[in-house]
């Protein structure tokens, strides 16, 4: 069955510290993975998609098919990065299957 797992509900770091938000997936086909972010009182918005291999707001994520992972990383966290982060898998290139989300708190 298709599944996305985000093992951490909450990740707390100090400003300037590195951040890694974990995401593992289970999918029998060729996966297309995304990271969505939800800032306080705002809508879900796309942060990254694996096929574009880009860096947005200093965040990167690499698809590791061997480990079935798509961890989100940033070398130096900022206070404005505090938000909910959701990893999502596009199933049959259509509907999204979400993980449970990780709340990132960045302290000053």
């Amino acid at each position: 069955a298709q599944r996305v797992t985000q093992p951490e509900k909450l990740l707390s770091v100090f400003k300037g510290a590195p951040v890694e938000l974990k995401c593992n997936y289970s999918y029998s086909g060729s996966p297309e993975l995304f990271w969505y972010v939800q800032y306080s009182r705002q809508r879900l918005q796309l942060l990254l998609r694996h096929i574009s291999r880009e860096s947005i707001k200093g965040f990167t994520a690499d698809l590791n098919k061997g480990e079935t992972s798509f961890h989100l990383k940033k070398p130096f966290a900022q206070e404005e990065d505090s938000a909910m982060y959701y990893c999502a898998l596009a199933y049959n290139t259509d509907k999204l299957i979400f993980g449970t989300g990780t709340r990132l708190q960045v302290f000053p």
């Binding site: 297309e32 995304f34 969505y36 705002q42 809508r43 879900l44 918005q45 796309l46 998609r49 959701y86 999502a88 596009a90 290139t93 259509d94 509907k95 999204l96 299957i97 979400f98 993980g99 449970t100 989300g101």
Partner: protein, 113 residues
């Protein structure tokens, strides 16, 4: 930049009542979705809609739920007879045909009493 809008932002209803949640998608987007998020749980897929018909629906999307585009622009989710467990945030999303990025609305918080 165009955005998806949803109305109302918050809907309170009595159990057994019908509710209609409305979404105005980004124009020229072709694929439409509803998701819901029960408080403290993950965002769950409900239904996808393309070319004026349902493409796929989840187990949650039972006979009490329906979707339509009544005027070619608005995209609605109707719950015929609400239950307490329908209380959740409901998100509308859509995408164009070129990319799989889905654009989300701000959500409607539905509270069933």
């Amino acid at each position: 930049e165009p955005e998806v809008t949803q109305t109302p932002s918050h809907q309170v209803t009595q159990m057994g009542q019908e509710v209609i949640l409305r979404c105005v998608p980004i124009s020229n987007h072709l694929y439409f979705y509803w998701y819901r998020q029960i408080l403290g749980q993950k965002v769950e897929f409900l239904v996808s809609f393309y070319n004026n018909e349902i493409s796929e629906k989840s187990e949650i999307f039972d006979d009490q739920f329906s979707v339509e585009r009544p005027d070619g622009s608005n995209f609605t989710l109707k719950i015929r007879s609400t239950k307490l467990e329908d209380s959740a945030m409901y998100f509308c999303a859509n995408r164009d045909g070129a990319y799989n990025e889905q654009f989300f609305g701000p959500g409607t918080r539905l509270t069933v009493l």
